[in-house]
């Protein structure tokens, strides 16, 4: 089993502690550097299953602006992001679009408009 150490700056609060996660294969051996439990949880999540809310723009026909900005309604596993981006790049939707409107879904994740167009 190989052991690996991951280093992060915690972004949960402005204190920005330097967190260290030591892995033994696919198991967590030790988490160091946190000042509060939230930071510990975040570091573990970051190593085991990093997720991000994804923002992008989609082309719009007949809108006030040529694109609508969108976000995923929930964080998406990092590994899925390139596929999601390719999917969004191919789309073109019809205006007008309201803020908060679900434009469509990607593998059960809602893509929501963040700008009026």
């Amino acid at each position: 089993m190989t052991s690996r150490v991951y280093l992060f700056t915690c972004i949960v609060c402005p204190l920005g502690c330097t967190l260290e996660v030591e892995m033994d294969g696919d198991k967590i051996k030790e988490v160091k550097g946190y000042t509060c439990p939230k930071g510990r949880e975040w570091a573990i999540e970051e190593v085991m299953n990093p997720k991000r809310v994804v923002m992008s723009v989609i082309k719009v026909r007949n809108g006030k602006l040529p694109t609508v900005s969108v976000k995923t309604a929930e964080p998406v596993p990092k590994a899925k992001i390139p596929e999601l981006m390719k999917f969004l790049a191919k789309l073109e939707v019809e205006g007008p679009i309201r803020v908060g409107q679900t434009i469509l879904e990607f593998e059960g994740i809602k893509i929501v408009a963040t700008r009026e167009t």
Binding site: F8, T9, C10, I11, P14, L15, G16, R52, V53, V54, M55, S56, V57, K59, K64, L65, P66, T67, S69, V70, K71, K78, I81, P82, M85, K86, A89, V99, T114, R115, E116
Partner: protein, 418 residues
């Protein structure tokens, strides 16, 4: 339509970004007759193109994207019936007397001369361009400021290039690095002059997410490529930011994105004699964000470059409150003004004058990153310990009215390592 329309208001807000919109909304809520002007086609300033999250945590108690933040303010302004013009170019401000000011603007609806008691100037800031940071060489296509690249991608849906070098590790540069990487472009490097990154920690993480190399203590000195950018020359700098000969290398790319900071837009203010603070590049203001010209207020990035839109909106509201007090009292009431002075390790500090009539938030930036420090205000015996301070993260601290009252003429702020 032709001719000059003459109209009258209590307050004219110049700039429809977050500072101006928050000011206009607040002024209307306070019962003032308000006119909001913006030179863009739509309200919101740069927010509609800032499609990432991180906005509104303080102001709306909720994390929003830029367009959502703008939408909420716009909606509120429309509900309240705030008068506004977009595509309105303000040509001149005239200050006839403390309660008689004139704003002249042109718009597709004609030219207007607005008589007003007060003005809130919220024109924001502009980006520093390549030639301002000493980059020489060819002027082929493919050199953009971060904001220009963002407008192209996130408003018009046009990709500026595929092989990207980003100059400057401030927040906008890092956010654009992520946008480019997400869109499948190859972000080859972020080049930072200083020995530490310029952006917030949450944005530095972007580099890790996409394996983008960050070169600290490096600068781009030359661009090659007659028709289109082909490569850039990078050199290492020493602790005094002097170039180290023999450390040059080239990076091939088709696009250079400059994210080298913002400069407050103050031209119309300086035209009428408002005093400028050389440290912020913005006007000298008191605790209601009134400039040195009575009845002319300023807010947001016009005053100082903020890192959070929440603070910008907060300053807009404060200026609106100032406008109301000014109109009611024929000036901002105070027994005497107390000067807020920069001490050790403080690079900039706002506001410049305190009335002692109210609690205030002060905004400050330190000169260099430090751990375990004490922020001291010796004249009023106030001390505060902080585990970490960084130039990239603006300090916002509250001073209470009772504490301010303890000072005679000035209050110094210093940041001392323990």
């Amino acid at each position: 339509m032709s001719g000059l329309h003459i109209i009258q208001y209590d307050v004219v807000v110049i700039g429809g970004g977050p500072a101006g919109m928050a000011a206009a909304v607040k002024a209307k809520e306070l019962g003032l007759n308000v006119l909001l002007l913006d030179d863009n086609e739509y309200l919101g300033g740069i927010l509609p193109q800032c499609i990432h999250p991180g906005f509104g945590i303080h102001y709306f108690k909720e994390e929003l994207t830029g367009p959502e933040f703008a939408y909420r303010l716009t909606k509120r302004a429309l509900e309240l019936g705030v008068d506004y013009y977009t595509a309105a170019r303000v040509l001149e401000i005239k200050n006839y007397s403390d309660i008689e000011k004139v704003v002249i603007f042109s718009s597709p609806k004609g030219a207007f001369e607005v008589w007003t008691k007060t003005i809130i100037y919220a024109a924001g800031a502009r980006e520093r361009h390549a030639f301002e940071i000493g980059i020489v060489g060819d002027r082929g296509a493919g050199i953009y400021t971060a904001g220009e690249a963002q407008t192209l991608m996130d408003i018009y849906g046009i990709m500026p290039g595929r092989e990207i070098v980003i100059v400057g590790s401030g927040d906008v540069g890092l956010i654009m690095a992520r946008r480019f990487a997400l869109e499948g472009a190859n972000v080859k490097a972020v080049i930072e002059l200083m020995p530490y990154p310029g952006g917030l920690a949450r944005n530095i993480m972007i580099l890790k997410d996409f394996d983008i190399p960050l070169y600290l203590s490096h600068k781009v000195v030359e661009v090659k490529g007659k028709n289109r950018v082909e490569r850039v020359k990078v050199i290492k700098v020493d602790e005094n930011l002097n170039e180290i000969p023999g450390t040059e290398f080239w990076i091939e790319c088709d696009t250079v994105v400059i994210s080298a900071g913002l400069i407050p837009s103050v031209k119309l203010l300086t035209n009428i004699g408002a005093e400028i603070d050389p440290a912020t590049g913005g006007p000298i203001v008191n605790d209601l964000f009134e400039t040195t010209i009575p009845g002319i207020f300023a807010a947001g990035n016009t005053v100082l470059i903020n890192d959070l839109v929440d603070y910008v909106a907060e300053q807009g509201e404060l200026a609106a409150y100032g406008a109301k007090l000014f109109i009611e009292n024929g000036g901002i009431p105070t027994k005497h003004w107390i000067k807020l002075r920069k001490g050790e390790n403080v690079r900039l500090l706002i506001p410049h004058y305190l009335s002692g009539e109210r609690d205030v938030f002060i905004y400050a930036r330190v000169k260099r990153p430090m751990e375990n420090v004490e922020v001291r205000f010796p004249e009023i015996g106030k001390r505060l310990r902080l585990p970490i301070v960084k130039p990239a993260e603006m300090l916002r601290l509250k001073l209470r009215k009772e504490d301010i009252a303890k000072a005679k003429d000035e209050i110094t702020m210093e940041v001392v390592p323990l």
